[in-house]
């Protein structure tokens, strides 16, 4: 194998390492396999449709990636999603005329950040483990969503609101473009910005990070605030697509988001991960769901398949280790044979 000669070439080569990007390989394989079985799957309109669908979980998964790299879980995002979409639909008619559509989205994002800060404060300030704190907040956010909406589903048909999720640019769904943009932002944040480095450091070892002068509490607050922001954006887009908000939405949403992150290869041990891989995993899951329909899979068997796929995907580490061991043994054998 030739080593690339330029620094750029080396970076591209590193980025394309199949071990790190196995999600993409899996995605490509799935797509080709299903298209072979049902050619209509490969239709451009379908592909664009899948890409659009992946954004709703994918955007939330970006935030969760940062959280898991940091070494925590946020189990409250499903309930938070419901609360924020209910709040956004309730405030929309009052806010949008005043601050415009962009301002409205920013305000909802800030609200998400605020709730995230609340989660972070419980973890950083009261030293409640993230798992437990966010579990408790899940009940609270859910109750708040029901109270704010009076237990009723709400509708919003305003054209400006619908345009958030339902537009497209040259055929490509706007939500997907937003998803891509946020993925890029997330990657840059993680790999280039000091906050991203701090997140990885704490994820690796909180003790070492503290010794190096990093404020774990402030990083905690920042991480959970970010999770809140991404959840808020996902929530607004979902509300726009569904033309309203439902306080009962999003049960087990957090589990699927976490599964997406792990599917992308980010380790639950924390310290490292890739936002791009998470994004690919979101597309992979959306492709899988869509393929069930095209391949007429029995609805009950669908659950079994998704469970099996997740377990198989999560065991990637182990399988990769097995492959590595096998390779090393082959190399050993070759060395001994040539002596």
């Amino acid at each position: 194998m030739n080593e690339p000669r330029t620094a750029f070439g080396r970076r591209v080569s590193a980025a394309l390492d199949w071990r790190e990007r196995s999600v993409f390989a899996a995605l490509a394989l799935l797509f080709l396999a299903v298209s072979a079985a049902n050619p209509r799957f490969a239709a451009l309109s379908n592909v664009l449709s899948i890409l659009g669908d992946s954004a709703y979980i994918g955007i939330a998964a970006i935030g969760m990636t940062l959280c898991i790299i940091f070494g925590a879980f946020d189990l409250s995002i499903g309930a938070l999603l419901a609360l924020l979409s209910v709040a956004s639909v309730t405030w929309a008619p009052h806010l949008q005329p005043v601050v415009g559509t962009a301002g409205f989205v920013i305000i909802v994002a800030l609200a998400g950040a605020g709730c995230g800060l609340l989660n972070g404060a419980l973890v950083a300030g009261l030293r409640i483990p993230a798992f437990i704190a966010t579990l408790g907040m899940m009940y609270v956010y859910r109750g708040a969503a029901f109270m704010l909406s009076g237990g009723q589903d709400q509708r919003l048909d305003s054209a400006w609101f619908l345009s958030l999720a339902n537009g497209d640019l040259a055929g490509v769904p706007v939500v997907f473009l937003v998803f891509v943009g946020l993925t890029v932002l997330g990657t840059l944040l993680l790999n280039r910005h000091p906050l991203g480095r701090r997140i990885q450091a704490v994820g690796n070892s909180p003790k070492a990070a503290r010794a190096a002068g990093i404020s774990v509490s402030r990083t905690t607050l920042a991480v959970f605030a970010l999770v809140g922001v991404f959840t808020a954006i996902a929530g607004v887009l979902q509300a726009s697509l569904l033309r309203g908000a439902q306080p009962g939405r999003g049960v087990e949403f957090e589990l699927y988001v976490i599964a997406t992150v792990v599917l992308g290869g980010t380790s639950l041990d924390g310290g490292k991960g890739s936002v791009i891989n998470t994004a690919a995993a979101a597309v992979l899951l959306a492709t899988l769901q869509c393929s069930f329909s095209f391949l007429a899979v029995n609805p009950y068997v669908q659950k079994i398949i998704v469970g099996g796929v997740l377990v198989a995907a999560f065991s990637m580490n182990y399988l990769r280790g097995q492959v590595e061991d096998w390779r090393k043994r082959r190399q050993q054998q070759r060395k001994e044979a040539s002596v």
Partner: protein, 315 residues
Amino acid sequence: MMKTTGALAIVALVLATAGCGDSKSSSQQQIIGFSVYDMKYEFFQMMEKGTRERAKELGYGYQLHDQKSDELQMVSGCKSLINQGAAALIVSPIKPDALGAVVDAAQKAEIPVVINDIGGGGTPYHAIIISDNFGGGKLAGQYVVDKLGVGNGRNVAILKCEPSAIYAIRRGEGFKALMTSNGYTVVAELSAHSKTEEGYAKMKNVLAGTPDLVAVFCENDPMAVGAAQAVAEAGKTAQVLVIGFNADGVAIESIRAGTMAATVAQFPEQMGRISAELTDKLLKKQPLQFDDVSQREIFAPVKLITQENLSEASK
């Protein structure tokens, strides 16, 4: 080098494939796509059966999509059915209010949309088969009045479905309206979240608070079956009328055994068959007969099922 080449090859292959497929159905047989609320419930299993069998009898291909009680799935799945080249779309929606995106996509693809039960969300569907949930609840209430006479302040209770099941909530409202107008007191209205085990637990608490309860109406059969067991354990089967909704097989068994008094049948299989026939007419550009022209509604019957007429529950 090898890595990059390999990666580029895969990307090229994927890009070449994407866009190759033709989303318009070119084969002779037209496909009817049916997107259903959630196949884990017997009600929708029966509706699916009716839809599938009638569609195939009429000579159409058939494609099923299960929303699994998720609104996002509803939207993406319906769009998926359209992308598969469905000639027509039947939807039994988890969230009628969210149908806007679906109907828009169907209109763009110029295919007709038929809604089966739940609600149409005010969208420009072509037809909707709607069962009267409120009226069904009233039927249940009327049964209590027929059996027990005028209320005189006697206590009844209602166990409600998961709050997001808005159409099911109307059943309880119908029951409540009839009960209060006949002099009964609705002493408790608790949510058992559509679950059997919660129907059991909530019923126990209701009985604890109101030992002289005379009837309980559950907005679906799973909760009613659970509530019936709680009543039986308290030895009050003779005292408390337990009424469910949906005429699920499990409830029919309970009625036969005497633990439940009645349920309200909705005939989902028949509704499914009707939806397929409507779709057939729409595809052949034939006119439709509506029960309510302004809303393009076709009414599906509801019927009270008791121990006396169990055989009529077959859908």
